[in-house]
């Protein structure tokens, strides 16, 4: 398939009927979290879409993001999108190795200069380039070099988006996020540890469909997937509103599927699509399985206090992250009407920590 063929032509050549194409568009709309009324527009745009070149760079990472993506068995949608994009360099997935692999990257850059999408997973070490190199090239040099000709950069996973676990204290490698090094290109952050596979493909599908980057929030995340908190979309939310909480992992509340807030759920301060898109082909997500949200798609995921500490309780380490978590937690509480407004205002004024007891009294 050559790069100048449109997706409509390519699918037709593969013997996909117009009905099949409409089905593909319906699944793509759902994938991109767009309303079904957008399906005709998506069909029109996809029909004319051209195959973009993608260069995927993996730095300080665990390959979990690539695992997440390649474990999504939906060949009719994600597979077709991947058939439709031209994945020119991905050192885990490509057959070529050594200098042939690097030659593929250089060729793709040259041929599509200014037009390719650069996908990055993993953070970049800045203290000593020797911590992570590819073909003798430091991660930072490779990123800066490859970013130059990119139309846009997609930072896949919390490491590329925010630094992730390599960035966690004491950050021995001086790990930073892509956005800390590159400021002159549009960067789409797709955080998560790992991100939901359809969110990764959804972002690529958006670019493929509309040729533009999706609308982003203040942290550079696509609003279609990261626009609402886990808490706001959680099916257990009615239990929070009624003040019904699991106190331990095997008490009555846990068995009845009550809210996991007191067990440290980071749902109120975490923005991601887990509550609706879910995992493993829509089977479930952590809260549905009885475990609090860890907040893996947020900055300071690892340093934001204990995973099992309720978000409004003070943490030993009063860092910027902890203050952020408390502030956002309080804001979510007010939105719910679960927290007395005056008390919250007083607490904010006095920088007083809001405790679970305070929340309970007002619930």
């Amino acid at each position: 398939m050559s790069n100048d063929k449109t997706l409509g032509e390519a699918l037709r050549r593969q013997g996909v009927s117009r009905r099949g194409f409409l089905k593909f568009c319906a699944a793509t709309a759902s994938l991109m979290a767009l309303p079904p009324s957008m399906i005709p527009r998506i069909a029109e745009a996809l029909e004319q879409a051209r195959r973009p070149s993608v260069i995927w760079l993996s730095f300080q990472e665990c390959t979990g993001c690539t695992e997440s993506l390649t474990r999504s068995h939906s060949p009719t949608v994600e597979g077709l999108i991947f058939d439709t994009i031209s994945l020119d360099y991905h050192h885990t997935l490509q057959a070529a190795s050594g200098s042939a692999a690097e030659a593929a990257r250089e060729k793709a850059m040259e041929e599509n200069y200014g037009g390719y999408i650069l996908v990055v997973d993993g953070s970049i070490p800045t203290l000593n380039p020797g911590y992570s190199t590819i073909a003798g090239i430091s991660n930072e040099a490779m990123l800066r070099d490859t970013a130059k000709g990119a139309a846009a950069i997609v930072s896949v996973g919390s490491c590329a988006a925010f630094g992730g676990i390599p960035h966690a204290k004491p950050n021995p490698t001086g790990a930073v996020a892509v956005s800390d090094l590159i400021q002159d290109k549009p960067i789409i952050n797709v955080p998560g540890c790992p991100p939901i596979p359809v969110v990764i493909t959804g972002v690529l599908a958006h670019y493929l469909t509309f040729g533009t980057i999706p609308e982003l929030d203040a942290l550079g995340r696509p609003k279609a997937f990261y626009g609402q908190s886990i808490h706001d979309r959680c099916y257990r939310r009615p239990f929070y509103d009624k003040g019904q909480f699991a106190e331990t992992f095997d008490d009555e509340g846990a068995r009845k599927g009550w809210c996991l807030y007191k067990l440290g759920c980071k749902g109120p301060t975490t923005y991601n699509a887990c509550a609706t898109t879910k995992w493993n082909e829509g089977t479930s997500f952590p809260i549905e399985a009885g475990h609090p949200c860890l907040g893996c798609s947020e900055p300071e995921f690892w340093d934001g206090g204990g995973f099992y500490k309720a978000i409004s309780t003070p943490t030993e380490d009063i860092s910027r992250a902890a203050v952020y978590a408390v502030g956002a937690g309080a804001a979510a509480g007010v939105a719910l009407g679960a927290l007395n407004r005056a008390r919250k205002a007083r607490a904010e004024k006095a920088h007083e920590k809001v405790t679970i007891d305070d929340l309970e009294k007002d619930a």
Partner: protein, 139 residues
């Protein structure tokens, strides 16, 4: 290697009366159906965009029931198009080649768009039939 069969997993059994997406969804469908009657405008609800609690989808489908049409479509994997017991309310489920659901919609319309023969496909079919006749009947 043996597989544990009787582990002490904590079973989660949510209280159905508290996780209530089913009734509002049915109201939304009723409004959509009323609109179809009054102005002929169609609607579609993406069930994947709604944070359904365990068991809620099953309850919604049970409420909608099955009506007179049950169609199978084979295009990029199977799809199932069921008219519910309420004429004009359809449940359209798309599967991939591994039979995993990749999309599920409640369509409120006279007939889902995907059921209709598409102009491009009709043209292709016409060409095929013509060349088949030219080549002589195979039977």
């Amino acid at each position: 290697m043996t597989t544990p069969t009787n582990c002490d997993a904590v079973r989660i059994e949510p209280d159905a009366s508290l996780t209530h997406n089913v009734q509002p969804l049915l109201h939304e469908i009723r409004h959509a159906l009323a609109q179809l009657v009054e102005s002929g405008s169609t609607s579609s609800i993406d069930l994947r965009s709604i944070p359904l609690a365990p068991g809620e989808e099953e309850r919604l489908l049970a409420e909608l029931g099955e009506g007179e049409i049950h169609a199978q479509l084979s295009a990029l994997g199977p799809s199932e198009i069921i008219e519910t017991r309420f004429p004009g309310v359809w449940l359209v489920t798309h599967y991939n080649a591994q039979d995993e659901i990749i999309g599920r919609f409640v369509d409120v319309c006279e007939i889902p768009q995907i059921m209709m023969a598409q102009t491009d496909d009709i043209r292709d079919g016409l060409e095929q039939l013509a060349s088949q006749l030219e080549a002589g009947l195979t039977g």
